[in-house]
Amino acid sequence: MSKRVLDRLNQVFGDAILETHSQHGDDTAVVEASRWREVARFLRDDERCAMNHFIDLTAVDYSDRREPRYEVVLHIRSLEKLHRVRLKARIGEPPSIDSLAEVWAGANWFERECFDMFGVDFVGHPNLRRILLYPEFVGHPLRKDYPAQMTQPLVEYRPEAIGKLPPFSEHEGMPFGRQTHDRAAAHVNALGFTDE
């Protein structure tokens, strides 16, 4: 059903739509990052698309697997026409893309979260600051090169008061998990040994 939205996008924007697919029934269009806001506004205002219901905005870090590194993913649907579409834009380092906060009011917090977790700079966002983490936090934790073991306590640990036992090292944020995509984490297992 939402195939028609993809057709319409292809017809109107032509070259700016880099690729479309419908894996698992989710209709997806990859948009050129420079025309991100323009395409979004078209989808909202065009009578035949009428995608007025904001659903989700996030990003994926493909790190060393793909170039450019980041993919910003937007899910929207139409309240009247009941179709859904996923828009994606690929952006490199340093990640930066137009903000959609003026297109859908809902994008505001989702973009803040995306900035918090991936460090994506949303140009034109009215209030781009951290939302889930605290302002003093260094780095962006959902990037693949952020080590999951790392801890950044807001209040310093007092080792003399806690008296930690040997298996625990300084950084023990997420010491569990046999398998991980987190390559920079040096595959530290629960006992603190590295297997490389």
Binding site: D26, R65, H75, I131, P141, M174, G177, R178, Q179
Partner: protein, 404 residues
């Protein structure tokens, strides 16, 4: 006559001109301990508010990238901890969508029944807590008692009262117990009676009504643009329910109504929730009717479902199959998918990327109350400080879900 020109500047008592800033939360009883609102006041009217979330952030999405697909289930339990079963079912459906499998019909009905029971719990907690924050403690206890009856069913079925971790990719952890249908059928009338009693205490209470009617109004268009879903959206008059609009499991086979509000105020949200509880009991009755007593619960695919325990201990095939699934995880084909279900607060979505291995490359959860919390600002600015309490109570913000 001498004019009354008292020199105000020289008076000792001066009223401050700056707007007063008040911190509500995170350690405020009405903020559930997880939200902080910095409110700017002019008199007792709120002129500006900064809603700060994140006090319950636990790095959920990062954790999902470490471990197998099945190991995500305990995490999703702790998203919306008022209705963990709905999250379990939602995540199971998302992985099944990627694998391209459908669970047997008996399991679909089973998931519906458990899910709707969880939805009743979720709505009861919200309505009860909202009433309690307004000082009505008795209805809260009535609702808690009703929830207790449902939790007894969960305890019997899953072994746990709150965080069940009962969902599995390709089925459920266990078959329904022989007494399952009877237990649910016995519990429902008692639950309904308790809800009626609790509701009567509230809806005949002028104080309660005065504090929720025409308070925290949200216009329809803005709610849609903000990405609201679920009860909060329906209370503004939009009949969007994932179960009706994009039916999953066997929801297209049941006869139920979607209650909608008209004004989008606290009263509408409260009433929509109460009505949805009644509709859920209707769904449960129909699902129990249609659910077969015999038949498989899990799909028949050795690459996805664990073998029975006695086979693991007695045959080499069973041992290997078990080992492969537990140690390497279920191999989900490479690609991406977005799967969404109607959870307690609205559309709970999972956007997942797989690289073909047994570990998720990225699990994005789309929490319904994250979008809802954005709207709080619009709802409370211009209102009074005491209005924050019922408004915040009626959107059912669950910290675990909102803060990941």
């Amino acid at each position: 006559m001498e004019p009354l020109d008292i020199e105000l500047d020289e008076g000792e008592l001066e009223l401050p001109n700056d707007p007063m800033q008040v911190n509500m939360g995170p350690a405020h009883p009405a903020m559930h301990g997880t939200v902080r609102m910095v409110v700017e006041l002019s008199g007792e009217t709120i002129t500006k508010v900064d809603v700060q979330i994140g006090y319950l952030h636990r790095g959920f999405e990062k954790m999902c990238e470490r471990g197998t697909w099945t190991q995500v289930f305990p995490y999703v339990d702790r998203l919306n901890y008022a209705s963990p079963m709905l999250n379990n079912v939602g995540f199971a459906l998302a992985v099944e969508k990627m694998l391209g499998v459908t669970v047997p019909e008996r399991c679909q009905h089973y998931r519906v029944v458990l899910g709707e029971l969880a939805r009743i719990c979720d709505h009861l907690v919200c309505s009860g807590a909202m009433a309690m924050e307004l000082g009505a403690f008795t209805p809260f206890l009535y609702f808690c008692k009703a929830r207790e009856l449902i939790w007894d069913v969960f305890e019997e079925e899953t072994g746990a009262r709150v965080t069940h971790s009962f969902g599995r990719v390709g089925g459920m952890a266990k078959e329904p117990t022989p007494a399952f249908k009877e237990m649910v059928r016995n519990a429902l009338p008692a639950v309904r009676a308790l809800i009626d009693d609790g509701e009567k205490l509230l809806l005949a209470n002028r104080i309660f009504l005065d504090r929720i009617e025409n308070v925290g109004v949200m216009p329809k268009d803005l709610a849609v643009a903000l990405g609201w879903t679920g009860v909060v959206l329906r209370s503004t008059g939009v009949p969007y329910d994932v179960r009706k609009v994009h039916p999953y499991l066997t929801y297209d086979r049941y006869d139920f109504d979607v209650p909608v509000g008209t004004r989008g105020d606290n009263y509408d949200r409260f009433m929509c929730r109460q009505e949805e509880i009644r509709q859920s009991t209707r769904i449960i009755e129909q699902a129990l009717e249609q659910m077969a007593d015999e038949g498989p619960i899990n799909i028949d695919d050795p690459r996805i479902v664990l073998p029975p325990k006695d086979e693991v201990y007695s045959t080499i095939e069973g041992t290997i199959q078990h080992f492969k699934i537990v140690m390497e995880g279920i191999k989900v084909p490479a690609g991406e998918c977005y799967s969404y279900t109607e959870a307690g607060n609205g559309e709970l979505g999972f956007y997942m990327v797989s690289d073909g291995s047994g570990t998720p490359y990225r699990v994005r959860i789309r929490p319904p109350c994250f979008a809802t919390m954005q709207g709080i600002e619009k709802m409370i600015v211009g209102g009074m400080v005491p209005d924050v309490v019922p408004t915040f109570g009626s959107v059912n913000m669950i910290g675990g879900e909102c803060d990941h």
